[in-house]
Symmetry: D2
Subunit: 345 residues, 4 copies
């Protein structure tokens, strides 16, 4: 028995990755695709400028793109993956939830809302039950679940491993982010070739808040955010895929580099279809992980860590994840798998 799913915002960079990851998928079957009103009525092949280096799946290519409206969704769709621009997501995602759809969304709107679960299944699956609070408050039959921002997803698993074992007091992070994080047209070639841009609008704030919500604890009623101080500085570099990050932490207990590596390596994976066999891969080579070489580990769903060193007061390390796989499309699908596992579908 598979679940029929819809994809809203299906033509963009993340939408295309969603299709790539769902073709095929053991639990989910694509039943509907939506995009902006101008594309409605076109075949997906015509509406999407397909730019992934795997051929477009033939069955999807011939599907007709719908308007992004719950009334346009087929009745048998139970789960909707959303990769809408946040301004659109803010407007239409509640409509889908109200109409009874469960929405697993990558859009940045509502991530910090008190009654919206923000989850990385391997890290804080228990937060998912915030759905009950959400339904009580909003009167929805459906539900809205968010995955975090791609740069946040990259660092949170190794941070969670450290936090559980040694307690985190502060986090400082500098990111080297790939251009695909801004969507296909988000960064022009004139902006980024032979260059780097030390600013990504709103990104620092996202990392500083979403990480604390993810690392927080849920008592059945609300999420108590982690109290660690988080300082982020975000940079765009001329790399296609894969966000690389330099992280410094202060820990409550003393930690050696070996202990840090060990708790990261042993951080428990999940048995969900898209969850990697090992969540955090720790490299011994000092020059790894590197975006082009390591972003594809475990189908792009692993977190790669390297350069673990002790500092005066904590641990310094580098981490990397594929921003449109683990950091976006794969994250939404993994949340979908968690929803299924936990009986919400």
């Amino acid at each position: 028995m598979t679940v029929d799913v819809g994809i809203i915002g299906a033509t963009g960079a993340v939408g295309q990755r969603l299709i790539q990851l769902l073709d095929p998928h053991p639990d989910f079957e694509i039943a509907a695709l939506s995009a902006s009103a101008e594309s409605a009525g076109e075949s997906y092949r015509d509406a999407a400028k397909w730019r992934i280096n795997h051929p477009i799946p033939e069955t999807v290519a011939e599907m007709t793109v719908r308007e992004t409206d719950p009334d346009e969704m087929p009745d048998d769709v139970d789960l909707v993956f959303s990769s809408l621009p946040s301004s659109v997501g803010e407007r239409v995602e509640p409509d889908f939830c109200e109409a009874g759809y469960i929405v697993s969304s990558n859009s940045s709107n509502a991530r910090r809302d008190e009654d919206v679960p923000l989850t990385i299944p391997e890290v804080n699956a228990d937060h998912l039950d915030l759905i009950e609070v959400q339904r009580d408050e909003r009167g929805w039959d459906g539900a809205l679940v968010k995955n975090p921002n791609c740069s946040t997803i990259t660092m949170v698993p190794p941070l969670a491993a450290l936090d559980e074992a040694f307690g985190l007091e502060s986090i400082t992070v500098s990111t080297l982010q790939a251009v695909s994080g801004a969507g296909y047209s988000g960064v022009t070639s004139m902006e980024i070739i032979d260059n780097a841009i030390p600013h990504i609008g709103g990104e620092e704030k996202k990392m500083e808040t979403e990480s604390r919500k993810l690392l927080g604890s849920f008592d059945g009623a609300e999420v108590d955010w982690h109290t660690a101080r988080v300082d982020a500085s975000c940079n765009r570099i001329p790399t296609l895929d894969g966000h690389l990050e330099n992280v410094w932490t202060d820990t409550a207990e003393d930690v050696t580099a070996e202990e840090a590596a060990e708790v990261m390596r042993e951080y428990p994976p999940l048995d969900l279809h898209s969850s990697p066999d090992q969540l955090v891969h720790v490299y011994e080579e000092p020059d790894r992980p590197q975006p082009r070489l390591d972003r594809g580990r475990e189908n792009g769903m692993a977190i790669a860590v390297g350069g673990i060193q002790e500092t005066d007061g904590g641990i310094q390390f580098n981490c990397l994840a594929h921003n449109t796989m683990r950091g976006a499309a794969g994250a939404s699908i993994l949340n979908g798998e968690l929803l299924l596992e936990n009986g919400y579908l």
Copy 2:
């Protein structure tokens, strides 16, 4: 009256920049060029694969390359600029000093030696008199003066401004470094296109130590290193020139972003030929400085700063400098100008 200068290690990336900056120069005139033994006897045009996008100066092109040996230097040379590989510099620079030459060196050897001045003229010109200690101890007629590593030079001027005004307690820095920092053949295209490398051998250590020596105080006998904790993480990115850095500081006194900007902007420049009119340029635009757009400010000798923000305990900012101009060739020439100004030539 101009000073005749020699350039040892003249064919590499920094050597070519030295020639570009000295053609012409009001105080210095190129009188001799050296390279490795294989190139000795060739014209500079043949020995150097000239890759700067200004034509090679004609007078230099026809000069004969010498061996890197003090016996090969013409007698009328008083100042030698060194851009040798550090392993070679370690071996031959003392020979030049012993033979009476004053060496302004960009090579990384000996920078942390107790009796070797490591100077950025605008920041710690007073350290130059460590030459007296050096001569006493080593019995040299010449002298050895070093400029710091390119990534250190980039951050130290704004840090010095903050330190003087508010006191620095800790510094955390993440670098996005251009490929030219590794020399022409240092980074292959296969390594860096669509990629980034979170490791530059020895660079973190250089930043952590050289910055503390530069910000230290000299009492006429020795340099008392600054006590701030410095943590660095160094990355190579696919950019040609210009090192961009994200810096976080903890300061002894409270500082606002405006105050931080003000002390940086007002940090006093020097009246040396190669010193910029304004040492630190502060940008208000949040997405600046950017390597390609801003590395050329004031002939590549300015430091560009942006993204100044208050943090809990200090100030966060981004800074940028042209790594082979301000960070290497220009740094050595500026030290040469300081030596002249201070009567050592």
Copy 3:
């Protein structure tokens, strides 16, 4: 006495280069700037996202942007440089000409019109007098003069040298074009990093027709297009500035590589302000010209040629020019200088 000039379409990539080249200029002074209606009323600083690595000229930065309409032009403007999108140029350039302005345009509309001079001053200055025919036919007080497409400008000077000396029968050209040729937002980073695109819409046709018009002869009434067969294939590559082209020709007379080099080197320059001292620079090194190293020759206004070889029936060579300088903004300014020299201003 300087001529007051207006720039219509002043905020784009070519518009910014026009401003850079006119600040200052001995004959022309910027008196008015226009852009699309949304920008009208803003300062140029706000309306243009300035992306050239020279600071924006202060006087220009504070000018108010006007609507692109002849009624908005100050009366004392005599010459208008146009870098409008071709669809806009097609609509408004005739209005300016009818209102009495002389328009030197880089836009691609109307280049092949029978009564519109398409000129590279060093190559076919005599075509300028097509203005008389144009005024007769259209009843304009003003006039419309075009420069060719950037990729066409790159190859025509060396081709003209060969044609005059040996006669051209066929031309085959493959281009490696920089991203700036498409404007700032024309090529996204996702499209071009680690990639190349073997298609630029309409470009092959432009090269095949414009080159034949430029190499044609003007008898005072009409231009008789050159009869050489021209086959072009156009590619976009991940380079910022500078179009590189591989060219093969069949010539009527036998030519040696040396003879070809000689006629190119000796192709006469003009004495206009922006015309280079030597129009065609011929490199002996087989791996030159290269975009990054050679696009800046003579302030970006020279044509660089290399790799000249004899083939069975003709000559093969590579050529390069800076596409937004010699190939666009500089080309329009040079046409402006020619208009002044020939008494049209």
Copy 4:
């Protein structure tokens, strides 16, 4: 039954691709690896700086690297894949052949020798029997078989399709070649970022001669080279993998673009393990093929063609192949499979 194979020159870029393609392979099993004398005795993991974005196969990682000498080969090895530098290949490949090994070589030496088969199995498998001539002349028990240069392999299959159907009279080709074609260290980042290089040493000559030998006919005694005139111009661009080429042909018979596409599409594939299901993929989209999007078709073994147009006298098209897969490692393996199929192993 599998054939034990050795790889000589196993640590370079092509050597690594050979290992990737042979792990696993239904017919071949890696039994020995060689590299230069300095690496001999090391594990492959230590000797090779593995840079492919698939993890190094564990069994291979622990193999001990041998010297490149037939005496060092295990007795049970029957087939040797060679990806040596050509100067080394020239010296040692004959030793291996004399010692009885069959060598399938990617090295550029000896490709034009009269008695050395140069084969693309789908195109000229019949040339393989030149081995008999070779053995007669050289008295070898082994044999030497070559695959062509990567840029030649890219264009020959579509040219062969055109030649068989319509007859080729001349070929003009411009290449946009990826940096991996020069090996890992062949092109530095300083040379190629924001740049292109219109020269690859010896490459034009390789394309002009190897293509004529490949398209020639073999009568059992010698290969009669094709008489078409071939003119090539070769360029390096900032792309990692995939050579893109613009090709113009003059054909003996008139051809329409549709007919050209048809004969290319229907060009018969082979039933060898590594031969693609369809040899030439023809794209209708005018902007395809593109290196990053299309180099991976059919595991990197397909030829992609697009932009087919009629010219005055022939056909113009663009073609693309993965240069280290179809153009090097895959080509040698395919020749190995052909040797097996034809009973030479």
